[in-house]
């Protein structure tokens, strides 16, 4: 007696029960076969419906055959050997094996084989249970492919990153400016070659040290401390911060610094990048140029002074009844004035360049200054009538000589660049807290491209350059003067329609 109803002969004898069991086997989606090990070649003696569905073969093609037909021509799988071994030892085996349907479509079969033994211990039958796990296998394979692809991508990215790093590194090492990276406590993390070269140090005596302690505290510079501890924390980044220092070995250096604190969250946060440009040589060259301009204009002025003196003497001794000579002397005088103005302009440029253009503030009658300047110009130019319109009535506080220079410059230009016309117009007006001066000519005008550049130093409009003399500094100087008074200067023009140059100056009537 046993609890297993299947082993109860009463059930097996019951034909109704038998057909129920067959029906249950056929309802299963798992393929089931039974082989008879006692017959030659271990043929299949039973299969359920699902086995047909999975393999695509019908009963006559299954019954009596050995299972191996499922393997098609795919005979070299390792799984086969494992199965053979298990069958021989009469043991259970669960294995995944590649099988083929009747249509020769591959499916993955999760095969379970269980031997049945009789009372003598002989294996009489095998039960084979098949599950089509192709879908699962596909997902698994997909996963493997995906994993490989991800690994490949990671490897690619890593390689890219490494190349980017190398690329960045080569940039850092190639630029001529010195670069220093500091941690939040101002210890040096890295420096580039330019730094080592410029400051004549080695990496080992630099990295890991506090910036101020470098080279026996050579870098303990008050201005640098001020930059890193006062300026940078409140205004990040800092650009163009000048530090001047005398280093014991390499001497006096003027350094232009850019400092940037990393604000991005992450492992680089609060690191400080310091770019140091050594401008010592450039400053020295600028100074030499300034000195040259200053000496040159001094040297030019000396003989000019003598010539001017002699001219005045000549005028004093001039016979009164010689109009031809008077005219010649007059013209020579004008040319000397021109020469003097050119020399003065050169000196102005060098003063502006070195920041030495002094602005003397004094109150003066703006309108009178304009009238005087116009009168002065009319003395030397009768080709154009300078028409004055409007008024400011301003007692302006500024540098009369310089503002007059600007007014004279703009009016002279208006006359110079409108040959063949007979007038230029000057307008004076007041706006809210500003006074405005404009001069309009009826000459060539200036195209858009050139309008942007006419205030640049030594810039001269191409078509003008060949026809008109000049250094190309008048408008540059004018702009500098107006800017230093807090005003702006600009030009409006359509080519061929003449040009209007204007400036405004801040002014409040007291």
């Amino acid at each position: 007696m046993t609890d297993n109803p299947l082993k109860n002969s009463a059930y097996f004898d019951d034909p109704e029960m038998t057909s129920l069991i067959y029906a249950a086997l056929d309802a299963s989606s798992t393929g089931i076969i039974i082989t008879d090990n006692r017959l030659p070649d271990n043929p299949i003696i039973y299969h359920n419906k699902a086995f047909e569905t999975i393999t695509g073969y019908n009963t006559t093609e299954i019954i009596g055959h050995n299972c191996r037909f499922l393997q098609g021509r795919d005979r070299s799988q390792e799984a086969r050997e494992q199965i053979r071994q298990a069958l021989q030892d009469g043991e259970d085996i669960r294995i995944e094996i590649r099988n083929y349907t009747k249509k020769n479509d591959l499916f993955w079969n999760e095969l379970y084989i269980s031997p049945i033994t009789n009372a003598k211990g002989e294996v009489t039958h095998f039960i084979g249970v098949q599950n089509n796990i192709t879908a699962r296998k596909k997902v698994e394979e997909q996963l493997v492919v995906e994993k490989e692809s991800i690994e490949r991508k990671v490897a690619e990215r890593t390689e890219n990153l490494r190349m980017s790093e190398e690329y960045l590194n080569s940039i850092v090492e190639t630029i001529r400016e010195s670069l220093v990276v500091l941690d939040p406590n101002l210890n040096v993390l890295t420096v580039n070659e330019a730094f080592l070269r410029t400051f004549k140090v080695t990496r080992s005596e630099t990295i890991g040290l506090r910036l101020y302690d470098l080279g026996n505290r050579q870098w303990d510079i008050a201005k640098l401390k001020n930059l890193l501890e006062e300026v940078l924390p409140s205004s990040n980044p800092v650009l163009g911060f000048e530090v001047e220092h005398k280093f014991p070995h390499i001497g006096h250096k003027i350094m232009m610094l850019n400092a940037h604190r990393v604000e991005l969250q992450g492992k680089f946060k609060d690191r400080i990048l310091l770019a140091i440009e050594d401008v010592t040589d450039r400053r020295a060259i600028e100074k030499r140029k300034d000195d040259f301009l200053s000496i040159a204009s001094h040297e030019l002025k000396t003989p000019l002074t003598a010539v001017k003196g002699y001219m005045q003497l000549i005028k004093r001794f001039m016979p009164e009844n010689n109009p031809k000579l008077t005219d010649i002397i007059e013209k020579s005088d004008n040319q000397i004035e021109r020469l003097q103005k050119l020399i003065a302009e050169l000196l102005d440029v060098s003063k502006i360049q070195s920041g030495k253009l002094d602005i003397h503030h004094d109150t003066f009658d703006f309108d009178k200054m304009v009238r005087d300047t116009i009168e002065n110009i009319q003395l030397n130019s009768d080709s154009h009538k300078v028409v004055l319109r409007g008024e400011t009535n301003a007692q302006y506080d500024g540098d009369e000589t310089h503002i007059s220079q600007v007014v004279g410059n703009l009016i002279s230009n208006a006359i110079k660049y409108s040959p063949g016309k007979d007038r230029v117009e000057v307008y004076l007006s007041t706006l809210k807290n500003h006074i405005k001066f404009s001069v309009k000519d009826f000459g060539f005008g200036i195209n858009m491209e050139d309008q942007k550049k006419v205030f640049d130093r030594f810039y001269r409009v191409d078509s003008i350059q060949k026809k008109f003399a000049g250094l190309g500094v008048g408008l540059y100087i004018s702009e500098q003067i107006i800017t230093q008074h807090g005003g702006t200067i600009w030009v409006d023009s359509d080519a061929g329609e003449g040009a209007t140059f204007s400036f405004i100056l801040p002014h409040t009537e007291k």
Binding site: K301, T302, T305, A306, K308, Q312, L313
Partner: protein, 120 residues
């Protein structure tokens, strides 16, 4: 009493010759010295009422000469006009104690007026 003795010190002969001619024509007695090294001794000997001195001169510069004149009690009545084409000339001249600064290139009428305005 109008002044009549002028001492001119400039290393540039172009300037001194011109000024000498101008002032002689205006009936002044003019002494010119192109080497500033000898200027101080000449001034002490001649006792001019007016000294016209350049700034940029080799060996003894103009401002040094001016300081020497101004610190000498026997020369306290000498009027010193400093002339220069240098951009910072005025500052240097006034710091040294010059009575007036004249920028080169100057106007002759201006310089004549200055000298003419000095009374002995």
């Amino acid at each position: 009493m109008a002044i009549n003795k002028i001492f001119i010190c400039d290393d540039d002969r172009g300037i001194t010759e011109m000024l000498e001619m101008v002032f002689e024509l205006a009936d002044y007695s003019v002494v010119v010295e192109n080497n500033s090294l000898y200027a101080y001794d000449s001034i002490k000997r001649i006792q001019p009422q007016v000294v016209l001195v350049d700034l940029w001169m080799p060996v003894v510069s103009g401002d040094l000469l001016i300081r020497k004149i101004k610190s000498d009690p026997t020369l306290e009545n000498v009027y010193v006009a400093c002339m220069s084409a240098s951009r910072d000339g005025e500052q240097v001249a006034m710091d040294a104690g010059a009575d007036i600064f004249i920028a080169k290139p100057f106007d002759l009428d201006q310089i004549m007026a200055i000298v003419g305005g000095v009374s002995a």
